[in-house]
Symmetry: C2
Subunit: 139 residues, 2 copies
DNA sequence: TCTTTTACTTGAATCACTCCAGAAAAGTGG
DNA sequence: CCACTTTTCTGGAGTGATTCAAGTAAAAGA
């Protein structure tokens, strides 16, 4: 049933259903904010050998289809999460790099208006909260 | 007089005053949102030969000293700007990568409260507005 | 000026990611 | 169910940004 959900998601995005895609999508769902290398390791744990390129290709395909969201916090490789369509944001720990989701403070996207948009047509606002996570604060 | 300002800034941060540092700091001030490679080219135009590593080292030292701010928009190399201490944000063009400054919509830092901070001690909020710049919209 | 400390140079390495060409598998029309 | 087209996966090489390491040079302090 979990597998069937995932399969439906792929078909709904008119993407072919393959082992690697199912595994990547499930993995990203189960381990949000993983980078490509971590996803690759987890996928291999499920399926056996899967090439690194396949993982990158799949992540890109899923990202372009809107099934997965790619976030790229400074100083760390790109990370992926299964997106819910809401526009939530992230808290990032400065020392350990941990990431947690944060609901948008002011409701719907784009959640803040720019004071001067320089003539840009703004379609998305991305917010990153930088700080220290509880665990790192103890050290 | 320009040079003296820059020198004072370095001394104020208790950094040694060297040719590469003066040139990098001036360059970042004159060409905001430049990446390391661009800074290197511009610095070489002023000083002659300067190693790439020197530029990276200087940019890091300046960043750590708080004289320069490093921003890292997704999909592009890190960019640097001379920071004013205000917490302003950025609009980024999706197609050409152009970056412009945007003053914070709601005043002083951190300009928005997270709805659930997961116990993190938040010290900075970074906002990126994604859109299309006027020039790219015509194409 | 002399010494100590810090910065710069050269060269190589790493890391995340991409490109390429060919083999394999998924969807499609008969 | 089968041939066919399209898309995906594999393996290997390549790229661009950034960093590491060892030695030389230059700035700050005595």
């Amino acid at each position: 049933m979990h597998r069937t959900d995932t399969e439906a998601a792929l078909r709904g995005a008119s993407l072919r259903v393959t082992g690697p895609r199912l595994a990547v999508l499930d993995t990203v769902g189960d381990h949000p904010h993983s980078d490509a290398g971590t996803v690759a390791r987890l996928v291999r744990a499920r399926l056996g050998a899967v090439s690194t390129q396949a993982v990158y290709d799949v992540l890109r395909a899923l990202t372009e289809a809107g099934l997965v969201r790619r976030i790229e916090p400074e100083g760390s490789p790109a990370r992926y999460e299964r997106r819910v369509g809401d526009n939530h944001h992230h808290v990032v720990c400065r020392s350990c790099g941990a990431i947690e989701d944060v609901d948008c403070a002011t409701g719907s996207a784009p959640c803040i208006g720019a004071s001067d948009d320089h003539g840009f047509a703004i379609d998305e606002v991305e917010v990153v909260y930088w700080g220290t996570c509880p665990r790192c604060r103890e050290a």
